[in-house]
């Protein structure tokens, strides 16, 4: 694992670096959901669209489980952020 890459930001929404992700995977936080809980990765406005793949690859590198077999984490609605006022009026008409 190249040390100089550690400062690269993997989750832009929550400003989490590759180094932080590797550090917590090393501590046993080996599922996407646990990394999300401890680092907030995937909780930003893009809901993980920008960082999930890269994080799953890091988990795969540590656990030797192919990316396709790793649980991608829980998806929670609404998939597209909606304004409170729109929701209060009964939704996107």
């Amino acid at each position: 694992m190249a040390g100089k890459n550690e400062d690269i930001i993997i989750c832009r929404c929550e400003e989490v670096t590759l180094g932080e992700i590797r550090e917590w995977i090393e501590k046993g936080y080996e599922t996407f959901d646990e990394l999300k809980r401890v680092l907030r990765v995937g909780m930003g406005p893009c809901q993980g669209r920008g960082c999930r793949e890269m994080i799953l690859r890091e988990i795969s590198a540590k656990t030797k489980v192919p990316v396709a077999d790793i649980h991608p984490g829980t998806f929670r609605p609404p998939a597209k952020p909606v304004k409170l006022a729109v929701l209060a009026e009964g939704g996107d008409k």
Binding site: R37, V38, Q47, R76, P77, K83, L84, A85, A88
Partner: protein
């Protein structure tokens, strides 16, 4: 893979309760502790909660638990060596009915007598505490500035990491399928990965605690109710600094330090499904509460909604005790909507009970036998 066959203590469930109990036992010198979690750490109610912490309660016991919790959270970072995301901006309680305001004031007198400095605030003061608040229809407010909220994930992980340093083992994806008893004593557990013999087993299984109790032959009347909650995109700080909470208004709303606003309410009826689904009705109702109470959130976007289980007892107060008919089997469950804030304290008190010490806050009345005797604990300030 190595499988341990024995332990001194088995804790079932890695939510805030299980992690706090394990940590406190280890801190008091217990050596061989294992925490079993059927999913991942903090995947139950703890990871889904509003994470509010308050001392504004209506019974002496809960005031003492609440104040102890506030004080504990204030030094938890130092004790556990990890930031728990504590934010103390107070709870602003909003009453919309005269009777409700009278009750808040009655509770406030009790709180004041116990060293909790809750005060009545005017609408103008309320708007200073929460700029942009629109509550013309409210009849009164109380405020306690040491109340607040913390990060439920970080708090639970902080307990786990501190417990691990003291030698506690955590096994994920390990589901307890049976609790073994011999002649009125607990003997261990069976799991999907093998059996573990242990003289002490703790049921901290949150929304599933009634099933674990049943495995041990212990009957508790607990039920699990699905509650929904949502979170917005991060916005500038100061949109909702305190936890806004109202019993009759049926809401709690708070802004996390990173800017997102969290809001939830009690469901209609008592949904008892374990699917943890989300409803459109909740989203619409909660959004209406937001824009009515905090008009400037109109353009703020909701990014996620989810739900979690409230483990309920007939009086919405916890079960924290040793089973009568199964010695060595301890229970910490039934926390309704306040099991996160009580976690640091109940974990300490149960650890004392397990070690045969006198819990420093009396918990005798939290035995489940109170339900049979009809001695319910009536707490007016509960959701």
């Amino acid at each position: 893979m190595f499988w341990r066959r024995t332990a001194d203590v088995v804790v079932i469930g890695a939510g805030v309760q299980g992690c706090s109990i394990a940590y406190n036992l280890a801190k008091m010198g217990v050596k061989d502790i294992v925490v079993l979690e059927k999913g991942t750490i903090c995947s139950g109610s703890t990871g889904r909660c509003g994470a509010g912490i308050r001392a504004q309660w209506g019974t002496e016991m809960n005031c003492r638990f609440g104040l102890a919790a506030v004080e504990k959270f204030e030094q938890l970072h130092d004790e556990l060596g990890m930031d728990c995301g504590l934010n103390q901006s107070g709870y602003l309680m909003v009453a919309y009915k005269d009777s409700e305001f009278e009750q808040l004031q009655k509770s406030m007198k009790l709180q004041n007598s116990l060293g909790i400095n809750t005060r009545v605030v005017t609408y103008d003061e309320a708007k200073e505490i929460c700029p942009g608040l629109a509550a013309e229809d409210a009849v009164g407010f109380t405020f306690h500035e040491r109340d607040g909220h913390a990060d439920p994930f970080l708090t639970t992980f902080a307990y786990m990491e501190a417990a691990k340093r003291l030698g506690v083992e955590f096994l994920r994806f390990t589901e307890v399928t049976d609790v073994k008893t011999v002649a009125g004593r607990v003997a261990g557990v069976a799991t999907n990965r093998g059996d573990i013999d242990a003289p002490v087993v703790v049921n901290a299984a949150g929304g599933y605690s009634q099933f674990i109790a049943k495995m041990a032959g212990v009957e508790i009347p607990n039920l699990s109710e699905r509650h929904e909650i949502l979170i917005t995109e991060p916005v500038e700080p100061g949109v909702c600094p305190p936890m806004l909470m109202s019993f009759s208004g049926n809401y709690y709303i708070q802004q996390r330090p990173h800017g997102s606003i969290i809001g939830g309410c009690s469901p209609e009826g008592h949904p008892q499904d374990y699917d943890l689904g989300n409803s459109w009705d909740f989203l619409e109702m909660m959004s209406r509460t937001f824009v009515r109470l905090l008009p400037r959130t109109k353009g703020v976007r909701v990014v996620r909604q989810w739900s979690g289980l409230y483990n309920m007892t007939p009086d919405r107060q916890p079960v924290l005790c040793e089973a009568d008919n199964v010695k060595g089997f301890f229970l910490s469950c039934g926390y309704s909507g306040h099991g996160f804030m009580f976690g640091p304290i109940s974990g300490e008190l149960l650890a004392q009970l397990i070690l045969g010490q006198e819990p420093w806050i009396p918990i005798g009345m939290l035995h489940y036998s109170r339900f049979e005797r009809g001695e319910l604990l009536i707490e007016p300030a509960v959701v």
